[in-house]
Symmetry: C2
Subunit: 161 residues, 2 copies
DNA sequence: TGAGATAGTATGATTCCCATATAATACGGC
DNA sequence: GCCGTATTATATGGGAATCATACTATCTCA
């Protein structure tokens, strides 16, 4: 009886530990992002947008503004800077269904410069992963993906609610 | 022989999957942070600093500037805004060894407002954690903590190197 | 005691953010 | 097909943020 309660208590602590660790990781990755951005003369929001463009593929400024949580006019400035720095191109597809539409595309040939920034963190993650079995890595990757989904939902709730 | 190679290949893919998931999570949490900040009228950097003050305990402006990667003068502006908003207090310890020193302390009585913002994400994480055993949760928390340490090291390397 | 380092903040030029306005295009009802 | 409205991307201007520099007060150490 007491052991059952102890078990429940232990479990709550475990869940709490996971959430705290996640929050600490969140802060640390934010700081790491800022250092990344500083290395290529990009503001926080600029860096976020470049990352989104790189990973979510070519997309329109309005869609990017929505997902990044930025004012459309602010995003124009962000894109101006990214384009001036040669990180992206704005394309106007001639045979697009909507002739107002602009497509923002990352210049892949410059991605090597970005990956170089990641190399330190990358090497450390490789080493860290060595300590886990295949099954454990799969478990971790799945947890991370599900957490991302949860974060996405929470973000939407906050931005719309 | 071939199966050994396949196993190694599979493993590389697993590691890659973990890193990609982590990167996606990084972006998503950045966006979530921006929404949090927007809800309490705080800029990205302001929110980061408030979070650091809350979690790393009372600390000096210079230490905060270092860890947050901000210019000292910029941090003065950040602290001004946080203080004006009533989120922190600047204290001048009378019997401190260094009389120049200022201590920045979070006003804990306002933390409830912050936790309310987290409630959505918090509830989702609770639910997500239900799918894991105690041992799995421990594994995950440990992985997250070690990743935070790795991020910390990578941040230091970038900011000093 | 004095030279130099350090903590925190003020100052001013530059840059950024964002509410609003504008131009071009799309869409829905009639 | 035509007109009112919505939407996309960007320009404009006023207010705010950023950061190099300077400044004051204090500490350290010789």
């Amino acid at each position: 009886m007491s052991s059952v309660q102890d078990g429940a208590r232990w479990r709550r602590q475990q869940i709490r530990a996971v959430k705290e660790a996640l929050r600490d990781l969140n802060i640390q990755l934010s700081l790491l992002n800022r250092q990344f951005g500083a290395r290529v003369e990009l503001k926080d929001a600029d860096w976020d947008c470049l990352d989104l463009i790189n990973r979510q593929g070519p997309l329109s400024p309005s869609a990017l503004a929505r997902v990044a949580g930025l004012h459309p006019a602010t995003l124009t400035g962000v894109l101006d800077r990214l384009q001036r720095g040669g990180w992206i191109v704005r394309e106007r597809d001639p045979d697009a269904t909507d002739r107002r539409a602009v497509t923002v595309r990352a210049r892949r040939e410059r991605n090597a410069e970005l990956y170089r920034l990641f190399s330190g963190m990358n090497a450390q993650m490789d080493q860290l992963c060595e300590d886990y079995t295949d099954a454990e890595l799969e478990l971790i990757a799945d947890f991370l993906r599900r957490t991302t989904t949860a974060g996405n939902t929470a973000t939407d709730e906050l931005s719309s609610g």
